[in-house]
């Protein structure tokens, strides 16, 4: 391959990123790069800055210093360029955040129609295909409140995929779910990972991290404390913070 080929350079690069909320230093000199097709799982104790990191990547949260590059370009600060960037980065939230006044299919077609200016008919066709893929095509005409949590989260994943994003961010996608619904969402995520989607996943699901991730990143107090391939990380965590954290979550 030619040197400098776009497929060689990482898709997401964070360079010395700092974030303050007032006096609170939430991200401290964070350096992270995510390759194309790579699945990175971010773990760490509550309040360590995982959500903030995730949200900074599509600029739902601004950063105080440092630089974030997506697909070779610095994140735009605002306006249409920022909106365009966001449409390239799918985001899945802990609380689903499906548009409550729109049906499931409308949720999935809204972005394609309003942002990408697709024809409604085409958007609906592709929307139905996506809903089939996540296994809820039969719920297309219902409103979010009529669906179970697991179904809502799968719809939210379909909504993000409808924009044909280059990467997907997941912020604790299964934390708000009843235990019996966690599996169905993780299955969808695992199949996405297999299909080569670039993913940054904040999660406490260690099974998912083991099976689907290329790399595990451990955060504490706003810092990336350590990162490793999952087998390595779970077997031999190097830092005391990571050992301590793992001992707490793996015992139950």
């Amino acid at each position: 391959m030619v040197a400098g080929d776009a497929s060689q350079e990482p898709l997401i690069v964070l360079d010395k990123v700092n974030k303050f909320f007032g006096d609170l230093h939430v991200l401290r000199d964070v350096d992270l790069s995510v390759g194309r097709g790579e699945v990175v799982v971010v773990i760490g104790p509550s309040g360590s800055g995982k959500s903030t990191l995730c949200r900074a990547i599509n600029r739902l949260e601004t950063i105080s210093s440092g630089q974030i590059t997506f697909d070779g370009k610095a994140l735009p600060a605002e306006g249409r360029a920022l909106a365009r960037l966001r449409s390239d980065v799918g985001m899945v939230f802990q609380s689903f955040n499906l548009f409550a006044h729109k049906t499931i299919l409308e949720n999935v077609t809204l972005g394609p129609i309003k942002v990408r200016k697709d024809k409604p008919e085409e958007a609906r066709k592709r929307g139905m295909t996506l809903l089939e893929r996540v296994g809820i095509a039969n719920q297309a005409g219902k409103y979010p409140a009529q669906l179970s949590g697991g179904q809502q989260q799968r719809a939210a994943i379909a909504r993000a995929l409808a924009m044909q994003p280059k990467a997907m961010l997941f912020d604790e996608p299964t934390s708000a779910l009843d235990p019996e619904m966690v599996g169905e969402v993780l299955d969808v995520m695992t199949s996405l990972a297999r299909d080569g989607m670039t993913m940054v996943v904040v999660t406490h699901e260690m099974g998912f991290a083991r099976h689907a991730a290329n790399r595990v990143v451990f955060m504490a107090d706003g810092q990336l404390v350590e990162q490793a391939e999952p087998g390595e990380f779970f077997a031999n965590p190097r830092s005391d913070r990571a050992k301590d954290f793992l001992s707490k979550i793996l015992t139950h």
């Binding site: 909106a83 966001r86 939230f93 809204l110 309003k114 409103y143 939210a156």
Partner: protein
């Protein structure tokens, strides 16, 4: 009902309430458009727009409507010679509509703004995350949900507006309350009857309006 069996009086009664209807309709439409724009300004990231929205609400919500209508007549029309129609009656009508609209828009704006606060922040975040711009997020995701949450309060604003239109009588329009005053002047022996008929007409229209908005609010409520 001796007063109203006189066709002249009956026609005056009907045309008085027709003016009320026209004033209410035109002002409600204008106030809704203005109120939505103002609410958008009040939550926008642009400081000048936020300031403008807040100034509008603070000025017009805290000025008695009578003063606003007088200003439209004596200020806009008599002093600044702003005419809205060559027909004197229509000119008064439109001056009244302007006053009622700028005043009512402040209340529509505040109702919508309280509705916006009922929409979880995650809704706007999800909208931004799929690449909708600020104004698309507001128009497509936030305001429709905010609007549904405040249908009942907007109904109250509409009812208040309808009653407030009688103030336009003070600048010469022969709307219902003005007609009532004339009928009372000419028929001093039937004051109570005249009063009951006019008040009853307002109630007969506005009570169903109130129930309708309550029903609509239930029907359109966003389930979460």
């Amino acid at each position: 009902m001796p007063v109203f069996s006189d066709p002249t009086n009956f026609d005056a009664y009907v045309s008085g309430f027709l003016w009320i209807l026209k004033l209410t309709g035109a002002s409600a439409l204008l106030a809704l458009v203005l109120g939505v724009l103002l609410a958008g300004m009040r939550v926008s990231p642009v400081p000048v727009l936020r300031w403008f929205g807040a100034a509008w609400v603070n000025i017009f919500r805290n000025t008695p409507l009578t003063l606003i209508i007088f200003f439209c007549y004596f200020g806009l029309y008599a002093t600044l010679s702003i005419t809205l129609s060559d027909d004197l009656i229509l000119n008064n009508f439109w001056l009244g509509v302007v006053g009622l609209s700028v005043y009512t828009a402040a209340f529509v704006c505040e109702a919508l703004r309280s509705g916006i606060n009922t929409v979880p922040a995650g809704q706007a975040e999800a909208a931004r995350a799929i690449g909708l711009t600020f104004s698309q997020t507001l128009r497509i995701v936030v305001l429709p949900q905010a609007g549904r949450a405040v249908i009942a309060p907007l109904g109250s604003v509409l009812i208040a507006l309808c009653k407030n239109t009688t103030i336009v009588g003070t600048i010469g329009l022969l709307e219902a309350s003005n007609v009532m005053k004339q009928l009372i002047n000419d028929n001093g022996d039937q004051v109570i009857l005249i009063f009951l008929v006019f008040a009853g007409t307002f109630a007969a229209v506005l009570i169903p309006v109130g129930y309708f908005f309550g029903w609509l609010a239930n029907r359109l409520a966003v389930k979460r």
